[in-house]
């Protein structure tokens, strides 16, 4: 069957639309995640969000807003924890608790393994038409946060004390990014899945960093890459039936590797040219 036929179906159009919003948010916010190196939060939040999402499934609540609220709160909680205790142990255990609770909810709801799979690895058909609106709103809110704190995030990352003298607080920037991340991951989860959201968040931004020299360039490239990866993944997932997360992970890794190779090749050419 010609896979392009899928666009005749509303659910496929919805899925692509929602996924586009998600991709823009992931690419945009990923820039700051990579800038500040918050690998831990990027890994952790989707896993905690998984517990929230499976709890929502159990309660029959399908609202993205509910999961977003839960994720935003969880984000702040993780921020507080990461400051106080050795992140390796305490937070690893919190994550485990989150995942374990998610497993509990899944088994209590007598939900099939397919539900676990789609929450963890993403599913093409996960979005209804109201879901598109919700996804757009949540993504927009996440993006609005990092847009507002764009300069503060840059300044506090690069020269923390100088920024503080001017009134730009590193802690405020941290919280803003975490909250944004919480919102973004809850939007990403239905599409990419909890376990592989990290790829979409970090991969395009890492690739863009090697190719772009200035912040707005890096953001734009990250968004563009993220959109391409998401569309391709959705398309391939529909055509082959394999999980979306699989394609996202592969394409993100590919994009990163390609970006590094290109920048290295360009660097060598520049050196040769200068010599």
């Amino acid at each position: 069957m010609n896979p392009f036929v899928m666009f005749a179906f509303p659910f496929a159009r919805h899925a692509f639309l929602a996924a586009s919003f998600v991709a823009v948010a992931a690419g945009w916010i990923g820039f700051y995640v990579v800038l500040r190196g918050t690998a831990f939060a990027a890994h952790a939040l989707p896993k905690v969000g998984f517990a929230g999402a499976s709890g929502a499934l159990l309660l029959g609540v399908n609202s993205l807003f509910g999961v977003s609220l839960y994720s935003a709160i969880a984000a702040l909680g993780i921020g507080a924890l990461a400051e106080r205790d050795r992140r390796d142990v305490a937070t690893a255990l919190v994550l485990a608790l989150g995942l374990g609770t998610g497993a509990l909810f899944l088994s209590l709801g007598n939900l099939y393994a397919a539900d676990a799979m789609s929450l963890l690895f993403g599913q093409v058909l996960g979005v209804s038409s109201s879901g598109v609106m919700e996804t757009a709103c949540v993504s927009a809110a996440a993006i609005a946060l990092v847009v507002a704190f764009h300069r503060v995030l840059l300044f506090t990352t690069v020269a923390r004390e100088a920024a503080l003298v001017r009134g730009a607080s590193n802690r405020t920037a941290d919280w803003a990014l975490l909250a944004s991340l919480g919102l973004a991951t809850s939007a990403m989860m239905p599409v990419v899945g909890a376990l592989l959201s990290f790829s979409l968040l970090v991969g395009p931004a890492l690739a863009a960093r090697h190719l772009a020299r200035r912040p707005w360039q890096a953001i734009a490239q990250s968004i563009a890459l993220s959109l391409v990866i998401t569309w391709l993944s959705l398309f391939l997932s529909f055509a082959l039936g394999w999980p979306v997360g699989f394609f996202v992970a592969c394409l993100s890794a590919l994009a990163y590797a390609a970006a590094r190779a290109i920048s290295r090749a360009l660097g060598r050419k520049a050196q040769a040219g200068a010599a």
Partner: protein, 273 residues
């Protein structure tokens, strides 16, 4: 006319440890003051207290006659060092621009004035050629100059530099001190530069602020760097050795000739004329 920086009875503690107590002094616009002293004396802490980053237990700091507070446009701060990834997507221009409006919300508008202000600051520190280079790929000295540009682009009244010379080679060290002197005199800024070694400052700094043992002495270099003054600060005999135009401060009298001013010197802050 209010001095650019003035502090009175300044006392800072970390927990139960008092870093320094009852420091009083002032620095006028256009003055370039080097801050010296042994490790752990509190030089960076003093700088941070003046910048409003550290809250004193007692005493007060005033900038231009007004109490210092966070979000102070009149202060330019050059941090000790910055940890940067090689691939950070920021150019020199971006970094300097943050000094202008990095505390504001949203994205910067690319107006002509903004661009001109940034170019002017880059020109001042002789770093125009670094404007479009990635900051992660620059040398220590180049980065230091950009950080200074970032601090002065908003034309502050006060410039504070926290150990800027630490990881620089000799040539860069002299370049940076020369630059700072120029900025102080031409820009009419009150400048405090924390350093470990007095030698690059000789002939360039207007005054020295020597911090030791929780007390300070401030004045022209030759007046402060004297055995009796420093011994008074330290509370034990200190030698000041001069050889070939260089100065070395050494603890402990070798031959007993250094006369220490009474160890319990009542003045915490000695101002020398």
């Amino acid at each position: 006319m209010n001095p650019a920086i003035s502090f009175r009875d300044l006392t800072v503690s970390y927990g139960s440890r008092t870093v320094f107590a009852h420091l009083t002094g002032e620095i006028r616009a256009g003055q370039f003051v080097g801050v010296l002293g042994p490790n752990g004396a509190g030089k960076s802490t003093l700088l941070k207290a003046i910048a409003g980053l550290v809250r004193p237990v007692a005493g007060a700091v005033e900038i231009d006659g007004k109490p210092v507070r966070r979000r102070n446009k009149a202060i330019g701060y050059v941090p000790q060092s910055v940890q940067l990834d090689e691939d950070v997507p920021l150019t020199g221009r971006d970094l300097v621009g943050l000094g202008l409006d990095g505390h504001r919300l949203g994205f910067p508008l690319p107006t002509k004035e903004r661009r001109e202000a940034i170019d002017a600051a880059l020109a001042q520190v002789n770093a125009l050629h670094l404007a479009d280079r990635r900051i992660g790929r620059l040398s220590g000295g180049e980065r230091q100059r950009l950080l200074i540009a970032q601090a002065v682009v908003s034309k502050p009244r006060v410039l504070l530099l926290d150990e800027p010379l630490n990881n620089l080679d000799l040539a860069s060290t002299h370049q940076v001190v020369e630059l700072v002197k120029r900025l102080a005199h031409e820009g009419q800024m009150a400048v405090l530069l924390v350093a470990h070694d007095v030698n690059p400052l000789i002939g360039r700094a207007d005054e020295i602020l020597y911090l030791a043992n929780g007390r300070m002495a401030k004045g022209p270099l030759d007046d402060v760097l004297r055995p009796e003054v420093l011994s008074g600060l330290y509370g034990y005999p200190v030698e000041v050795l001069r050889a070939g135009g260089r100065v070395i401060v050494a603890a402990g009298a070798m031959d007993g000739h250094a006369h220490a001013v009474s160890a319990a010197s009542p003045e915490a802050s000695v101002m020398l004329p």
